[in-house]
């Protein structure tokens, strides 16, 4: 493994990447440039749109599985489990946050813009990474 590749898959590089992604995402969500962006008109649902969406998701999942296999090969087991557990925390965080927003805040503050999805994903993943880094990967953590 080359020196650069070793650094790329090191805990320090992951710490830096998640710290940057978390801070940048929090800043984007808090300061609102995504919300001020002019929104495109809403799409009319059509079967073609649904078919394309399903196809894109299936293709993206195949790509994601390939990336996960690369990570599994190159990261040590602690780092891979750290990333996987923090991703699980992020998914649950997103589902709960979206549901809470819709139930409690959407009436007064408006629906979440679609452009907020990416920073929400990165902020939730970074928070999960930080929690898992501090508490550990075990079942008691």
């Amino acid at each position: 493994m080359s020196k650069f590749k070793r650094w790329l898959y090191s805990p320090r590089a992951n710490d830096l990447a998640f710290a940057f992604a978390g801070l940048a995402s929090a800043a984007l969500l808090a300061t609102g440039p995504l919300v001020r962006r002019v929104s495109p008109p809403p799409f009319e649902y059509s079967p073609v749109m649904g078919f394309v969406l399903v196809a894109v998701i299936v293709a993206a999942s195949v790509f994601a599985a390939f990336i996960a296999r690369l990570d599994n090969r190159n990261l040590d087991e602690y780092m891979f489990l750290l990333l996987a557990k923090s991703a699980l925390i992020a998914i649950v965080t997103l589902i709960v946050a979206w549901a809470l927003w819709t139930a409690l805040f959407a009436g007064n503050l408006g629906d979440l813009p679609g452009a907020a999805m990416m920073p929400m994903v990165f902020l939730a993943w970074s928070a999960g990474y930080g929690y898992t880094r501090i508490r550990g990967t075990g079942p008691e953590a």
Binding site: P11, G136, T137
Partner: protein
């Protein structure tokens, strides 16, 4: 799961980084195992046992012995 990794490493005057190189894992992984924040997989536990030339159960204790 409790383990004696820190003691065994100290007996050999190895740093966490040095042990990490010998086990082909990161220093952070060694630290996480020593502090009980990560339970190693079976293959890694075997590598640790081979390195210290001891049975796995003399290094790791799952509390059911």
């Amino acid at each position: 799961m409790n383990n004696r990794l820190k003691v065994l490493r100290a007996e050999r005057n190895w740093s966490q980084a040095e042990l990490g190189v010998r086990l082909d894992v990161s220093r952070q992984a060694v630290n996480a195992i020593e502090t009980g924040k990560h339970d190693p997989s079976l293959p890694l536990a075997f590598r640790i046992a081979r390195l210290f030339q001891m049975p796995i159960e003399e290094i790791f204790d799952d509390g059911h012995a």
